[in-house]
Amino acid sequence: MITLEHAYVATGLMFAAFSILSLRDPLNPTRFRSALFWGLIAVSMLFGSWLGGLGNGLLVIALVIIGAAGRLGVGRPATTTPEQRQAGADRWRNALFVPALMVPLVAVGGTLAAKHTAAGAWLISPVQTTLVALGLGCLIALAAAMAWFRPPVMAPAQEGRRLMDSIGWAALLPQMLASLGAVFLAADVGQVVGDLVTRVLPMSSAFLAVAAYCLGMALFTVVMGNAFAAFPVMTAAIGLPIVVHRFGGDPAIVCAIGMLAGFCGTLMTPMAANFNVVPANLLELPDRNAPLNGVIRAQMPTALVMLAANILLMNALAFRF
């Protein structure tokens, strides 16, 4: 049976390859730091379960220091030229989309098969099935792309490293925020915020609780510029204890729509620099340095309507399914 552990091993080997290739890339300005960063993630993926809590904590501290010590450089592995790529686009046309589509197809198909067929249940573990099936989908798509386009053997690791380098330390952000959420849960931060909010706003009905959660997600995201950072706090404060536990909302629906309410906040804040400020600069807007530049003003009506829509959708769906 394929389990989460197998997926972790595959991922760990990939990061180990990124680490070794970074170390041997003289064109990467921070080759040693990059190699160490990806190498430590490989260690976490391959051996994390044997390190214990404190060992993993020290690993995190090391990753944070390496990641925060300055920008991680972007390696420059040998790749195709723009002309070769255009030739490839003309030659293979829409076939180029096929391996990319195989990934979600295998992930969704594998999840459904594991839930509903004996063969699927035998093949794929019932714990975190979707992610295990996703890993499987990536490997199958990779094999298909290798057979189809016949690139050099090391091309997947090299091209993957190019993309990974451009993501950089941000690759750790969701995992770090989820861990911060665990510390907040242990310290009852959510309950304290929840008590504060409940004192100001009476959560007398499910609708009020839903509205408070969605508005809280959006406002907190405006302040932080990142819905990922708002999510653990607001969900521990209102989403889980009040909307889910007190009023019986479905946790998957509440969290999915709560996150999208946070995205409405992202559309309205200059704190979300890469989405709202970078394009204003790229497009040379005259008001690009204003807090509410042209991009944010163009997004504002959609964001406000969508925030209201999310409140209504959560209220309509979360208590029904």
């Binding site: 379960s49 993957g160 999510f231």
Partner: protein, 241 residues
């Protein structure tokens, strides 16, 4: 109440633009230590609380390794890019012969949202698509319709092109199971003792995605009218002068 300082650290850190990894780790330690503060607690107990927090953070970090499985898709995407994926996407957009700026951006909204829902978030984006392609094509369509554009109309079109990319991405990507926010939700709930399947979470992003398409799509349908109004206003000002 003291534990709220942990949130204050997060907010202050993000506002001060300190590297978020540092901000998060410091906020965790501050929260864990302050949760232990009480009458009769000495420095040694607080140090123990700090170490305990790092241990708890490490455990949670290990439990949340799921997220990195999603990076297995990068070698596939990289290989396809190497073979010309982005060029092919560009060619497809170029083939669209939409007569007006609003309609062209509507087509882009469809493409952006649909590809993001399939996990192809890197096919769009401001540096890759909006600046080199979508904004100039939308401006070109408006110029064909109205002649030379005044600045007000030009910047309105550019802003809307960037906004359309963001809206399509934000309300499309959550349908894909392997995107960061979905994995964060699954990991957070697991820490809280609630087990949900990633596929289940991503399915419930679909209703919002449909509404977002209708709302922003309607705005784009009305967008050409706004550009026409800008043009009329400029003409009226010139007549008045």
């Amino acid at each position: 109440m003291l534990v709220l300082l942990g949130i204050a650290v997060v907010v202050a850190g993000f506002v001060a633009r300190i590297n978020p990894l540092v901000v998060i780790l410091v906020a965790a330690v501050v929260t864990g230590v302050l949760a232990a503060v009480g009458p009769g607690v000495d420095a040694r107990a607080l140090t123990a609380a700090a170490i305990d927090t790092i241990r708890r953070f490490g455990e949670a970090f290990n439990d949340n390794r799921y997220f990195h499985i999603t990076w297995l898709v990068l070698p596939v995407i990289g290989l396809l890019e190497r073979a010309g994926l982005q060029e092919r996407a560009r060619d497809l957009v170029m083939q669209v012969r939409a007569a007006t700026a609003g309609r062209l951006m509507l087509v882009y909204l469809v493409v952006r949202q649909a590809t993001a829902a399939l996990g192809l978030t890197s096919l769009g984006g401001h540096p890759q698509m909006v600046r080199p392609l979508i904004a100039p094509m939308a401006e070109g369509a408006a110029e064909t319709e109205h002649g030379a554009l005044p600045d007000r109309a030009r910047f309105r079109i550019r802003s809307m092109a960037a906004a359309t990319d963001n809206v399509g991405l934000f309300f499309g990507e959550d349908i894909f199971i392997a995107i960061g926010s979905i994995v964060l939700i699954v990991g957070f709930l697991e820490q809280a003792g609630v087990r949900v399947e990633a596929l289940h979470v991503s399915l419930w992003a679909i209703p919002t995605a449909i509404v977002a398409f209708l709302v922003h799509g309607a705005r784009l349908m009305l967008f050409d009218r706004a550009v026409r109004r800008d043009m009329a206003k400029i003409e009226a000002e010139e007549l008045g002068r």
